[in-house]
């Protein structure tokens, strides 16, 4: 499928190559199954959306892909190698080929915007400071925040912080970018900017993108391939248009945001009337 880990794979012959492949993954936390036979295939050069209601383990999936967690059963392979079989050093080597955008940006709060973006370069390479400076300014320009280089993270708005985090995520020129809920809590303008940037990163730089989110409408405009998770498995996959046409109840409920359907709005509880009437009796 994909070439040896040490070689940067040649893009032309790899149109259908899977960069990340999750096969029959099982994962449980404290005995509660998060994944029970999950299958996801992320193809090189595409934007793959992973959608699902809150609590379906979307973030856990990103942690499995990046080797922060390991599947109890099944296989998670990244760049063609099973991540569970890699040494810590090899996992770090794989992570250098990935970038991740965290939900809250996760910028280092005690250093400036410039130093945040420079951080992975300074830590992982021996490049001279003059080169790092150009590199960082280029990436900040790409997200429109070159002027904010000297600000501290506490001085940024939520949307700006996420753009700085995006600049940091791409500064090492990753092959794969992972976005964890990139649209949460953004105003319409920032949201539009982030959407455009994700698309741009993918088209201009050829970065394979995995976007984990529950914002169906936003994802539909950029995703090439979508997976809908529910109850620990993929319940539907395809292009956003295919999902929209699906006649599965779960898919329809999720795509239309309906309270009624297989995914229950109410957490399991005893009978409402009898609980209210019996309240005084303790």
């Amino acid at each position: 499928m994909s070439g040896p880990d040490s070689l940067r794979p040649a893009p032309p012959a790899s149109a259908d190559e899977a960069v990340v492949e999750v096969r029959d993954a099982h994962y449980a936390i404290d005995g509660r199954a998060i994944f029970a036979g999950l299958n996801v295939r992320v193809r090189r050069g595409l934007i793959t959306a992973v959608m699902g209601p809150s609590g379906t383990g979307k973030t856990t999936l990103l942690r499995l892909i990046t080797g922060q967690l390991f599947a109890d059963r099944g296989e998670v392979s990244v760049f063609g190698r099973d991540i569970a079989t890699l040494s810590r050093k090899e996992i770090y080597a794989a992570r250098r080929r990935m970038g991740m955008l965290f939900q809250n940006g996760a910028l280092l709060t005690d250093i400036s915007v410039f130093d945040n973006v420079a951080f992975p370069v300074r830590e992982n390479t021996d490049l001279p400071e003059s080169v790092i400076r150009k590199l960082v300014l280029t990436k900040l320009e790409a997200v429109g925040l070159r002027g904010a280089a000297e600000l501290m993270p506490a001085e940024l708005s939520g949307g700006m912080a996420r753009r700085v985090a995006l600049a940091r995520a791409i500064v090492m020129d990753p092959e794969v970018l992972l976005y964890d809920e990139p649209f949460v809590g953004l105003d319409p303008i920032s949201l539009g900017v982030i959407l455009r940037l994700i698309k741009q990163m993918n088209q201009a730089l050829g970065i394979t993108s995995i976007v984990v989110s529950h914002d169906v409408q936003e994802l539909a405009t950029i995703a090439d391939q979508s997976y809908l998770l529910s109850a620990g498995r993929v319940v539907a996959s395809g292009t956003p248009q295919e999902l929209a046409r699906s006649d599965s109840e779960t898919v329809r409920q999720f795509m239309t945001g309906s309270e009624e359907g297989p995914v229950r709005f109410h957490y399991p509880a005893p009978d409402y009337a009898s609980q209210l009437l019996g309240a005084d009796e303790g």
């Binding site: 965290f102 996760a106 910028l107 951080f119 992982n124």
Partner: protein
């Protein structure tokens, strides 16, 4: 952690001790590569040390002045006021300097370390480092541990010097003991062994208190309450362990 309570406090205590032991081992292993980045360590010596200077100096001054007053009134009864310099120097070097510095360190620098690391964890900064192929043990924990270890004996030394000045202020300037007698008696009675004893204590306190502070921050649940509780635990555990270890070390030196 969740099923710790159902096993009873003894097993939970054992589990925590074991977890701290493993953390200490990982920390020591991360210290070797961290030494190659002296700038990170110097920044932490500044954080834990220089930023504690004011309270250490003030506390040292008042401790020395109290020693001067109490020591003078006690020694006066035996007509040996001129031994005040010796008494103050030995109390400060062997006991008060290292112990009080450690207690102040726990309250000032220890809490700052725990809450800083706890909040870094809660805001995904440590995970972000992991994702950038940077080991947070090496980049965050080890420099802070080494910074505390280096800062503690330096702070204790400053505490002692200011304390001696305070004792001299009361004994010589206020009570009228002869300046020459004060210093020469001290010089004659205080040996290298006494100084070393204080330094060893400071180094042990520095290692233990920095370990507690970094470990609590690292293990803190990533919530506001979790970080708050971890900070409290740092102060409590540090204070109790300082006094316990002080007894053990004093007994060992005798």
């Amino acid at each position: 952690m969740s099923n710790g309570t159902q096993h009873g406090p003894l097993l939970e205590g054992l589990r925590k001790t074991g977890a701290t032991g493993i953390f200490f081992f990982r920390l020591l292993r991360a210290c070797v590569p961290a030494l190659a980045r002296p700038r990170l360590i110097i920044a932490q010596v500044y954080n834990a040390g220089a930023r504690s200077l004011i309270i250490i100096m003030l506390s040292g001054l008042f401790t020395g002045m109290v020693l001067g007053l109490q020591g003078y009134s006690l020694l006066e009864r035996f007509g040996s006021e001129e031994a005040l310099g010796t008494a103050a120097a030995l109390s400060l070097l062997k006991e008060l300097g290292p112990v009080l510095t450690a207690l102040l360190f726990a309250g000032r620098a220890g809490t700052a370390l725990t809450s800083e690391i706890g909040l870094m964890k809660a805001t995904d900064q440590l995970t972000a480092m992991e994702m950038m192929a940077v080991d947070p043990m090496r980049h965050v924990a080890a420099p802070r541990f080494l910074g505390g270890l280096i800062a503690m004996p330096l702070l204790a030394a400053i505490f002692n010097i200011i304390g001696l000045y305070g004792a001299q202020l009361i004994g010589v300037q206020l009570m009228g003991i002869d300046r020459g007698t004060f210093w020469s008696q001290m010089q004659g009675a205080v040996g290298l062994r006494d100084v070393v004893q204080g330094i060893v204590k400071s180094l042990v306190f520095g290692a233990v208190l920095s370990l507690i502070a970094v470990n609590e921050g690292y293990q803190a649940p990533p919530t506001a309450e979790g970080v708050g509780l971890a900070t409290t635990r740092t102060v409590v555990a540090s204070s109790v362990l300082t006094l316990l270890l002080d007894y053990v070390l004093t007994a060992a030196f005798l």
